[in-house]
Symmetry: C2
Subunit: 228 residues, 2 copies
Amino acid sequence: MPDSRISASSPPPPRTGTHAPAHAAERAYHYTKERILRGDLAGGELVSEGQIGGMLGVSRTPVHEAFLRLDAEHLLTLSSRKGAVVAPMSPQESRDVLEMREAIESASARRLLARGRPPKEALAALRFALDHQRDAVAADDIDAFVEADDEFHSVVVRWSGNTLAAHFFAAIRDRQQRLRYQLLSIRSEHLTAALEDHRELAERVAAADPEGYAAVLHQHVARHQGGL
Amino acid sequence: MPDSRISASSPPPPRTGTHAPAHAAERAYHYTKERILRGDLAGGELVSEGQIGGMLGVSRTPVHEAFLRLDAEHLLTLSSRKGAVVAPMSPQESRDVLEMREAIESASARRLLARGRPPKEALAALRFALDHQRDAVAADDIDAFVEADDEFHSVVVRWSGNTLAAHFFAAIRDRQQRLRYQLLSIRSEHLTAALEDHRELAERVAAADPEGYAAVLHQHVARHQGGL
DNA sequence: GTGGGACATCTTGCATGCAAGCAGGTACGC
DNA sequence: GCGTACCTGCTTGCATGCAAGATGTCCCAC
């Protein structure tokens, strides 16, 4: 149905708003991924390349590329000559994600602190993220808090120097974002407690105490199971 | 990497052997990946789609798809209108890989054993892998041992039921395979010691002792740092 | 020798055309 | 009513053509 000729009649493709990725494939990737993560495309739903391409005013080719990448991330399951199915969230998704997150972050803390005190810059980055979280709590801005929360945990992984860990952690973050959109269970009351946990974690980093970090993180993850 | 077009139904996911690559894109993917892992394509080397396509007698399109997947796995770095660069192995690659492997496998053991004794099938799978390793040691067959070694460690991850972990573990396995090809440092003498470690690990699983498993695994990984 | 522009040639990005697989509906024979 | 063949419209897989960015080179002015 929607050949790209339709795009000739319809003005420029709907602006996604946030940023303008130069390439069509990139645009299709981010657009589709966002829709999956936000839950606009529900798990189990069937999407076709032409459908997305029509919406963005591009041909099937770049959309096909986007689908391949999403398939590699297990957000989409390609089915030859039938279409692509949005990966359903397993009932254990939350548990799986939090478990991996804890495992990787703990390992990162151990590596970061293996040679004693961490670099000043890492500590500064932690403080920076903490400040953002404090401001977000004060403003009762959940989105900002989530962003700063992600940043905080990423700091440890990034500064561990393990690029593989950073790669995995990014994938985990996507999935967690998807969970957040689905559960919508973040409450303001949780933010203060989470911020306290983060302060504690930062202290363990400053004290070069990886096992303490792991212990606090375990509590932190357990406490916010599925919530943050 | 299993064919992601086939949606896995239940844990444990089906084992995928080396299957005939029906599709051109699949063929290009496996061919290129193998060449990278084996070191035929050295880190930093520039490869083009047309080059691979010419070798396989397919057009650029399926090769392009293969490159995209390899880029997502960080085995290839695409550079717009210049070509694709084979990802160089960082000097810390070995450490990164082993660290993640230990982190994920330990977490998997904890989850598998969180509710006491593991399922009979899991124990049987461990014994099966152990038998293979014993035979490989007897035959001094390093390739067979490596395969059985991978299988052994995968069993725990697979039976933990965390599909995300299984996904990561598969990616790690690829990178470890690449390291093996580069280092070529596996010696027959190591096999016996590794087999002993595995027996010990299997015992910890049978005893539903995740912390013991983690401890033995830590020793095991440290001992064979970069070697196996 | 050195700087710079034109050009040839490499590369990919994307649109498109065609073939073929898959699914749902329908008419037909019984 | 029921099974089967077929038809029609969906989907993707892949080859191909064209446009355009990146790079190297050659030549010429100075």
